[in-house]
Symmetry: C2
Subunit: 233 residues, 2 copies
Amino acid sequence: MNNPDAALAEMERAIDDLGATGVQIFTNVNGRPLDRPEYQPIFARMAERRLPIWMHPARPATVADYAGESRSKYDLWWAFGWPYETSVAMGRLVFSGVFDRHPGLVIITHHLGAMIPFCEGRIGGGLDQLGARSDDPDDGAALGGLKRRPIDYFRMFYGDTALFGAWHAMESGLAFFGADHVLFGTDFPFDPEKGPGFIRDTIAAMERMRSSDLDKAKIYEGNARRLLRLKLG
Amino acid sequence: MNNPDAALAEMERAIDDLGATGVQIFTNVNGRPLDRPEYQPIFARMAERRLPIWMHPARPATVADYAGESRSKYDLWWAFGWPYETSVAMGRLVFSGVFDRHPGLVIITHHLGAMIPFCEGRIGGGLDQLGARSDDPDDGAALGGLKRRPIDYFRMFYGDTALFGAWHAMESGLAFFGADHVLFGTDFPFDPEKGPGFIRDTIAAMERMRSSDLDKAKIYEGNARRLLRLKLG
């Protein structure tokens, strides 16, 4: 991503020559936001290819939480900083107009949309008032440049179920995104058992989650078949 | 809070002379974290008085989200920065051992625990491994100094229902904290109608939320009567 032209070439090679069904990016590029003009061709190309982009958080402990400190303590940069980073990246993409340019673009966010479902109320009525809290004219201008309400674009993202067994959070994410925008994922193999633990916990949460069998079938399998355009025998 | 001795005196005056049923603090003190030793007497005193502390987020647009920028754009400092700030403050208090020193301390977090309910899985198994991701010996030492798992302390906080109508997030918060730790709140008067809109939306979410009438009665009224030690006629 630090060389967008090379990234485009590698995407093509991965998809056409190696059979990749999508690409993964991180929520920033060496600390730069994804809404910079040089990254627009990446989103345009994946929309054109009709394949998903997975978006994974990236944020180190050196992003301090308090002005007088040199690092984030107690893994809070990871526990809460990663979902914050994902949410900000989503917000920046929304206000860059990427979904107005590419309404069919599929971006699958890790951890079921990070902070977005729980913050639905803040995003909804809150970001409708963008510009009222700020003296930066860019804010109001960004809102005015969009065709729809900000919250409508946040619903255009997809999310995976990698919430490590938090069944009530999975219900919240499902209520926000809808069953067509949620895909089964576990964060395998990053648990103390090197994978089986998160798979087991996520399946248990899927079973406990209050939703229809049809919706669960979409999450387990149907959405991946559709979005990754899998052709199975 | 920039003068803890004066804060203690004012707390006493507010409670004893003016009838205050608790005090509000912000999630940082001029950018300093709440786990600094000089603030410990505040928490000790409120635990001793058996009255709640409300904790409200504080974070300005000047906390930039990307290294090359001077401010957070599009109100993201508010939409997501405030819940992040609340969550980090909660984490810092947890690892400072405040709940081991004062198991009965009541801290009511704004917006139903901010990121905590949705991140239950990250906090649970994730922070149990504190020290494994870090080369800072303070991290592992902090974990070792606690009597219980980190997640157990996060459940000792309380939360209000000020989620602006996001009923599924209220269900998630209720599942995480339990009905004895959730209090009705609306963020009145910060909606375009100056109050009635958020009250109406929050009551609608309370009614839609799947939980028992007994639990809803606790949230609407019972918990406030108990925690604020209200003596009504």
